[in-house]
Amino acid sequence: SDEEENDMVSSGPPVIESVSRAEAGDLTPITIGYANNMYIIQGSGFTSVEKIYFNDTDTYFNPALVTDNTIFVTIDQNTPYENASSILKVVTANGTVTYQFVVAPPAPQVTRGFQPVNANEGDQVTIYGNFFLDPIVTFGSIEATIVSNTLTEIVAIVPAGAQNKYLTVTTISGESSWGTAVGTSIYDDNFYGAWDIPAWNNHEYLTDPENAYQGKTFIHKEISGWDNIQSEWIWDDQISAYTGVRFAVKSDTPGTLIFLFNGNYWGDETRAFDTTTEWQVVSYSWEELGGMPDGVQNISFQEFSGESHNYYFDDFSYTVD
């Protein structure tokens, strides 16, 4: 009794008339699809379907979701999109049909920003991320020249007019931007200017691309309860273009810190914020820091959970509008 009743209506070789995204509403024929998404193939002669291929990948389909005129199928998550045939092939007992159909990569993801953040016009920056297939890199609206790229790294040249602009990577599948603008960094994988954290803090710099928030390197210190990590005192008054400061932070187990700005807020529990095991970006506008300061002198943190935790910091920068 495995024979389906609708075998009766089965016809000749398969014909594909259209492919559309499986979603409610009117079906719009498309020619580009994404892995892990479901599509409806419409046509005829599908009843005896044996195989479906996207980009020559043998793709599982559910026979219960097949009629003579329709196939519901999900593009396999491991379907290649690089150097691929862009052919959809349906094989039935009565023949084979092919159909031009592009499997696009997933939308690009800029995962660890770019390095260095404070690059000048003509400098090369390296962008870290994923799904960089045929990318376009722009700073603001200005397109950059790409020197080389793999699916996970792009080397691009900073064009003129990029200062204080945000970087965006675009592919046919979408776009992804990074939250630190060119030239705004205080610390990316290195300190800029006179900024530093004195060694007596007993902190360390971890170069661990897997776990960095940005670039490859970040700061680690096990801070005992109520203890702190302190930067040098300096004076930076070239801050008129900026709206505030931000940084990324996490801890090994949930912790609590106070952001000490220019030596203020020590022990002020209203300023305490929680950290988790995941990186989070914390930003303060000048207003939140008591109004536009004359200069930025010191950026430090006080442990405020009362327990010892391992804290990690990365990607200190100024914010721009």
Binding site: D252, T253, T276, T277, N310
Partner: protein
């Protein structure tokens, strides 16, 4: 006549056994496994769901998650039955063994067996009193066969019974030294009874006696921490492997043995672990009935060696564990067990392999379940010295406390508070069925604060519940459990005020 006299052929008549030393010595073997099964199959772990260490959406074990457990719950009834099964079997030995032994049986063998029975009865009552509060005291089941409707006894009387029973056990049980021949470590000893009694004294806040008992155990050298200074070649991770059943640290552990009958082995490997769309750690077609709570997923510091052995957090790697996809896996970032997003590692051995020991038809295994191990005794010792004070820097307390911490790879402390010990107990004993009782013995306002702040949902939905404490109303008190409906129907006196017990 003879024709219609058909004595049993697949069991033994009570009066025809206990003829020689080995028969008497084996009389208690079954009380290390089957009598505890109905407790340890599910209900023991349902208590971990109640304490906020575990999460489960499975209705058979999840009622305490929302503090909605009531007397109709089948697993509650199973837990109750299991503890009374131990009382009944212990009573049979305490009351009848000595009059039935053959003439060649040595008194020392009788003593040890009867001592084990006292130990089991005390242990069962210790659970009963902590779970239900007032319960009937039954020293001989046959006394009540024709008049089963008896009153409960006050909690204090039950503690009196427990102390008497452990004291009787201490007098009768053999002394031991837990060596590397693990097969000799299974039965409880004088030291086991002292260790349990230390805990009982602690619950009664009788700190001097608790300390005395704990120190007798420590000074005897009977037990050692795996991975502690006396056994540096072992580790915390070894504690929960099949090959380390009855190791040097084990004070009292249940001795499972799959024998083809349902209810003979340990179901934890399936109840715990992971059964996600990509990987399963159980031989059963299901798994991960309980998962870690959201709290526990982030409970352990990165350098705490216990974390990896207690809870499976996405990204954790278990290179040696056998699974449905072969040996070794990385915990996927999926719903895993019950939507918790992680899995319980402790007592999870993985799909059967050389390391796991055998698996029975229900995918149960033979790894022992700890009722107490030496690490806990050390923490009891520290707490007994603290004796309810604010903090202590007593070297003996610190020695015991830091031995547990250092075995876990953590730095020693120089001064400890009750909260330090309380937290260390949770870290050390997480998923071993004790945190519910720890929460039950501290100040209720504090316990309620802790429990109501726990995220008792899964990784997709945070949920918070607040337990109710009522000293006057047993039924409304979430820190005590309802009496099973069926027993209340037979004996409504269970709901009456307890009546003081007259000891013989």
């Amino acid at each position: 006549d003879d024709f219609t006299d058909r004595p049993p052929e697949d069991s033994i008549s009570l009066d025809a056994y206990y003829n020689n030393n080995s028969q008497v010595a084996s009389a208690t073997n079954g009380m290390y496994s089957r009598t505890w099964f109905q407790l340890c199959n599910k209900f023991f772990w349902a208590l971990e769901v109640g304490s906020g260490n575990m999460y489960s959406g499975s209705p058979d074990v999840a009622a305490l998650r929302t503090f909605s457990l009531n007397g109709s719950d089948p697993e509650l009834a199973n837990g109750w039955a299991s503890l009374w099964a131990n009382v009944a079997q212990a009573n049979a030995i305490i009351n009848f063994l000595e009059t039935r032994v053959g003439p060649t049986v040595d008194q020392s063998v009788i003593d040890n067996t009867v001592g084990e029975a006292y130990f089991m009865r005390a242990t069962a009552y210790f659970y009963l009193v902590r779970l239900w509060g007032p319960v009937p005291i039954i020293e001989n089941n046959l006394d009540y066969s024709s008049d089963p409707a008896i009153n409960t006894s006050p909690v204090a009387d039950i503690y009196t019974l427990i102390v008497r029973d452990y004291t009787n056990a201490i007098q009768r049980l053999k002394s031991k030294n837990r060596g590397s021949n693990y097969s000799e470590n299974g039965h409880v000893s004088k030291g086991s009874a002292k260790a349990m009694l230390a805990k009982v004294y602690l619950y009664q806040e009788d700190y001097p006696n608790a300390r005395l008992m704990a120190e007798e155990v420590i000074n005897s050298g009977e037990f050692k921490l795996l991975g502690g200074s006396a056994l540096p070649s072992k580790s915390f991770a070894d504690l929960f492997t099949y090959s380390h059943n009855n190791n040097e640290e084990s004070i009292f552990a249940l001795q499972w043995k799959g024998d083809g009958q349902y209810g003979s082995a340990n179901n934890s490997n399936t109840q715990f672990g992971i059964s996600s769309s990509t990987v399963s750690t159980s031989n059963a077609s299901y798994g991960g009935v309980m998962g870690p709570s959201q709290d526990v997923l982030t409970l352990y510091a990165a350098n705490d060696l216990r974390g990896h052995e207690t809870v499976m957090v996405p990204g954790d790697v278990y290179p040696n564990m056998n699974t449905s996809i072969g040996v070794g896996f990385t915990v996927p970032d999926e719903d895993n067990a019950q939507g918790s997003g992680g899995g319980i590692k402790k007592y999870c051995l993985g799909v059967q392999s050389n390391e796991t020991g055998p698996v029975d038809a229900w995918a149960m295994m033979d790894n022992s379940t700890y009722i107490m191990r030496y690490a806990e005794l050390l923490l009891i010792h520290a707490e007994a010295i603290l004796a309810g004070g604010g903090s202590t820097s007593d070297a003996n307390a610190l020695n015991s406390f830091n031995a547990v911490r250092q075995r876990a790879g953590l730095t020693a402390k120089t001064s400890i508070t009750f909260d330090d010990i309380f937290e260390e107990r949770r870290l050390e004993l997480c998923f071993e069925g004790d945190y519910w009782f720890d929460l039950g013995r501290i100040d209720k306002a504090k316990a309620i604060e802790i429990m109501s702040a726990q995220n008792r949902g899964n990784r997709n939905n945070a949920e918070y519940y607040t337990p109710v404490y009522s000293a006057s109303d047993h039924g409304a008190n979430d820190f005590y459990i309802d009496y099973p409906d069926n027993d209340v129907a037979i004996n409504p006196k269970l709901l009456d005020a307890p009546v003081p017990y007259t000891f013989n």
